[in-house]
């Protein structure tokens, strides 16, 4: 459309009345619920975790995050089968995207990327640990590569950039789920990282590829991480907190990555609210379409990233000062940032649960059809339903699960950050001082998360 047409369209939109089609969904039922009560209950639970944290000693913290080795049976051949399967699924999705029906909800390409990887895999990583490292579409090739240079200890700034670009694409792009387009982008992304891996060695993924760093960080929260079982986050605790020392200090880039995850997840929720839409001058009852809000949505994303990064840095600095500057500030900042991971994970579950309930049905059908060799089902009527959003009891259950994800994420974050502080200061009172601003921040963030769940949404 040329400029003349754009102007004509804008003029038309301004002067000619439009029909509203905003419809009632589960959001309407949530608005009728006593969400204030749930919010108070959720924040109270987080306060309880603050009290528990306040009484923690270094030994108590170590006991809380203690873990026990799990003995898993070794299945021969899995080492090859899993990476091969991961690559085959990617190739299948790519081909479906290029050649298949261009259905944004049914095509395997968007289902693979946006439902399987974006919605489901984070939860899988949080529960079962790092599945992605074995099943990612590069893992098969990596089996045959030798590490050319030592990649450990190198920062993951490249991965951060890719993560932000992927997130922006999901949120701001006009047609992120158009299959062929998505397949081309995914193919190029895959080729680029394949090339980098061939050049830099398989370790490239862990520092240069956005999904890998994202999923690896989430996997550290798994109760089964590292082949041991314990409280979610025990691996993180162990990695950052050996013998009460801050010896295995994570890199600054990983810390910033964790903050970026939380900022992105938060903005993902905020950008749909009536509040935000009215801030950018959009009528939430008549959303004009993604193409009409690219600039404000992009700006909001950048603002969210900067606000959280600067704000959280300032809060950490305040805590570090209150505790009479224990160790280097950068060390303090990096471990505290990683304590935000459970909150980011909680936001993810809460935000994408409803999308999962719908898109998961499409994925299930696609998978069933793929493995269904009988043509008897060709004419069977399989229906996708969103009827549960009309049932108050289901909507309440969904809301409760979402709230629990937010609350549990914050409780874990408080316990983790407190135990990190104990590791750094080795003194209960000093640790508590260092945590005071962070506790305020995390309680505020609990409010934000629960407010987002209870807010009317317009997109």
């Amino acid at each position: 459309m040329d400029v003349r047409h754009r102007l004509a369209l804008v003029a038309l939109l301004l002067i000619v009345p439009v029909t509203a089609w905003a419809h009632v969904s589960e959001g309407a039922l949530v608005l009728l619920m006593p969400t204030g009560f749930y919010t108070v209950a959720g924040v109270s639970a987080v306060l309880v975790s603050v009290v528990v944290a306040a009484f923690l000693t270094p030994t108590g913290a170590a006991r809380l995050f203690a873990s026990r080795k799990i003995y898993l049976p070794r299945i021969g051949g899995l080492r090859f089968i899993m990476p091969a399967a991961g690559l085959m699924v990617f190739i299948a999705a790519f081909l479906a995207g290029v050649l298949g029906e261009q259905h944004p909800l049914e095509n395997l390409m968007p289902l693979y990327l946006w439902t399987l990887l974006w919605l489901i895999l984070p939860a899988v990583q949080m529960i079962f640990g790092d599945v992605w490292s074995r099943m990612n579409p590069w893992a098969f090739v990596a089996l045959f590569l030798k590490e050319s240079t030592d990649q450990t200890g190198k920062p993951c700034w490249f991965a951060l950039v890719f993560f932000l670009v992927i997130y922006l694409f999901a949120m701001v792009d006009v047609a992120p789920d158009a299959p062929a387009r998505l397949a081309v982008f995914s193919g190029l992304y895959w080729l680029f990282h394949l090339g980098m891996m061939l050049w830099k060695g398989p370790g490239w993924l862990a520092r240069g590829e956005g999904f890998t760093v994202l999923f690896a960080l989430l996997a550290r929260l798994s109760p089964m991480a590292g082949g041991r079982i314990g409280l979610p986050g025990h691996k993180l605790h162990q990695d950052l907190h050996p013998r009460g020392q801050c010896g295995n200090n994570p890199m600054l880039s990983v810390a910033v990555f964790a903050i970026a995850m939380l900022a992105a997840g938060s903005y993902d929720g905020i950008n749909e609210t009536f509040w935000w839409l009215s801030q950018i001058g959009v009528n939430p009852l008549a959303f004009p379409g993604r193409s009409q809000v690219v600039a404000p949505m992009l700006m909001g994303f950048v603002m969210a990233q900067l606000t959280l990064l600067i704000g959280f840095s300032a809060i950490c600095f305040l805590g570090w000062r209150l505790a009479s500057r224990p160790g280097h500030f950068q060390d303090f900042f990096t471990v505290m940032s990683l304590a935000l991971l459970p909150i980011a994970a909680g936001y993810h579950v809460a935000h994408y649960l409803t999308a999962f309930l719908v898109n998961g049905q499409y994925l299930k059908i696609a998978v069933t059809e793929m493995f269904h060799f009988s043509h008897a089902a060709d004419h069977a009527e399989v229906y996708i339903t969103t009827g549960f959003f009309n049932r108050p009891s289901y909507v309440r259950d969904i809301y409760v699960v979402q709230s629990c994800a937010i609350v549990i994420g914050h409780m874990l974050a408080i316990l983790l950050s407190h135990s990190f502080a104990l590791g750094i200061t080795n003194n209960r009172i000093t640790a508590l001082k260092s945590q005071a601003p962070l506790i305020v921040f995390m309680i505020g963030y609990t409010f934000l998360g629960l407010w987002l769940l209870a807010s009317p949404r317009g997109v």
């Binding site: 047409h5 000619v16 009345p17 439009v18 029909t19 309407a28 298949g100 395997l108 399989v382 009317p456």
Partner: protein, 429 residues
């Protein structure tokens, strides 16, 4: 809310994955029975669908209805002896993508026509491109955009009445049965303003008056402070609230009035795809609604409605046969079914063979007037106005009784007539 029927077309995603597009014709519905036509190549109808974006909830039902309509047309022998194929493109409920989709239909997919657009802002974004590309473009939007003259000769709305006609047709019933002093409560943007302007004029023509116009900001989620603005003399409340706060609105209005409320009249747009048993909606008992097509099968249900529901998989309460909570967009989605049947009739009248006959198709539809209540038009009889490219028809006024909507009045087609605002037939192709 919504369901999608998995059809042969959607299976192609899997087949495309396994073996490429070459397999696709094998699964197109009923291709084999059309060899007697001059060309057995399918007539391609580009279906601009809101599969994603804010219109997705409606889009799924529009898809289900259109698939059923095309299957029926093909079962009856197609159009001019040729099968019909829906070429579906998602527009993301976005005006820019809408224009791109129209372009794809015309240039890439070589579609004969474009069809199906619902949201008005997407119609506005797409229709000019259809005019430039000389692609007949059939919208199913109920917006007043076509009849207002804002679009072009290639754009038509032959399957659903426009909002101006709908609102105007309500006035005689409201004035004669509910009361002449009306307070309007509407969201304060174009949608609400349409209702305010069209209804104010229509009720005055019936000797009534709008005693108060209460505009609610779109971001409002609590309404108790607005109800005291309702004048005491009010006999009827006309409400058209939409969005996630609508249940709250109904509940708070019910609590405000208690048992002694004025008569209440609304548009089902507020509660399209919403289960009437939702909490808060018990306050709607006894109130009236405009319905484009009655959601609940009525005692005098026609065979046409029965056939139509069965074809799409809708039960007698307007929900999916597979999930009674999955309430359809019943008041609007008939527009897809009826529009496709008008296209068929138009192509047959024009002897349509291919894109070279597009102008003949438009002229043939412009020549149409009466459309009989039938399997082709299960919502009711209609009259098409070839000059304004807009169809006119019956409207239904239903009352909520024991949680279901029972039709109390069917308007005459003439109740929705208004002066022509455009004559597209004077525009050149």
């Amino acid at each position: 809310m919504n369901s999608t029927k998995k059809t042969a077309i959607s299976r192609r995603s899997t087949l495309g994955l396994l073996g490429g597009a070459a397999l696709a014709p094998a699964v197109l519905p009923g291709l084999s029975g059309f060899a007697q036509a001059q060309s057995s190549a399918p007539i391609k109808i580009g279906f601009q669908l809101h599969r994603t974006g804010i219109g997705a909830a409606y889009g799924r039902w529009y898809e289900r209805t259109s698939n059923a309509a095309v299957a029926r047309i093909n079962d009856m022998g197609g159009i001019n002896g040729r099968p019909v194929e829906l070429v579906i493109e998602d527009d993301g409920t976005d005006p820019k993508r809408g224009a791109e989709v129209v372009e794809k239909f015309a240039t890439q997919h070589e579609c004969d026509i474009g069809f199906g657009t619902l949201f008005s802002h997407v119609v506005y974004g797409s229709a000019p491109r259809a005019g430039e590309l000389k692609l007949p473009y059939f919208v199913c939007s109920e917006g007043h955009h076509v009849a207002s003259g804002a679009l072009n000769r290639y754009v038509m709305q032959p399957g659903i009445t426009d909002v101006k006609s709908q609102v105007q047709a309500m006035a005689p019933f409201v004035a004669n049965n509910l009361g002449k002093k009306v307070t309007m409560i509407f969201p304060d943007f174009a949608f609400g303003h349409d209702h305010r302007d069209f209804f104010s004029a229509a009720i005055e023509a019936q000797g009534g008056e709008v005693v108060a116009k209460i505009a609610i900001p779109p971001t409002e989620t609590s309404f108790t402070k607005y109800f005291p603005q309702i004048p005491r003399e009010t006999e009827v409340i006309y409400h058209v609230m939409v969005g996630p706060a609508v249940l709250t609105f109904v509940k708070e209005m019910g609590e405000f009035f208690g048992p002694s409320s004025p008569e209440i009249f609304g548009f089902i747009d507020s509660l399209e795809a919403v289960d009437l048993s939702s909490p808060g909606l018990e306050f709607l008992e006894g109130t009236y609604f405009w319905e484009g097509n009655p959601r609940y099968a009525q005692a005098d249900q026609t065979e046409f409605d029965k056939t139509y529901r069965a074809a799409i998989g809708i039960d007698e309460n307007g929900a999916s046969v597979s999930d009674s909570a999955d309430v359809s967009t019943y008041a609007h989605m008939f527009s897809c079914w009826e529009t496709l049947n008008v296209i068929k009739r138009g192509m047959e009248a024009a002897g349509y063979q291919g894109p070279a006959d597009r102008v003949k198709l438009i002229e043939a539809i412009e020549d149409m007037t009466d459309m009989a209540h039938s399997d082709d038009h299960p919502q009711g009889a209609k009259v098409f106005n070839g000059k304004t490219h807009q169809v006119f028809g019956h409207q239904y006024i239903s009352q909520v009784e024991e949680g279901r909507l029972n039709v109390k009045h069917t308007t005459a087609i003439e109740d929705g007539f208004y002066e022509d605002e455009v004559d597209y037939t004077t525009q050149s192709f």
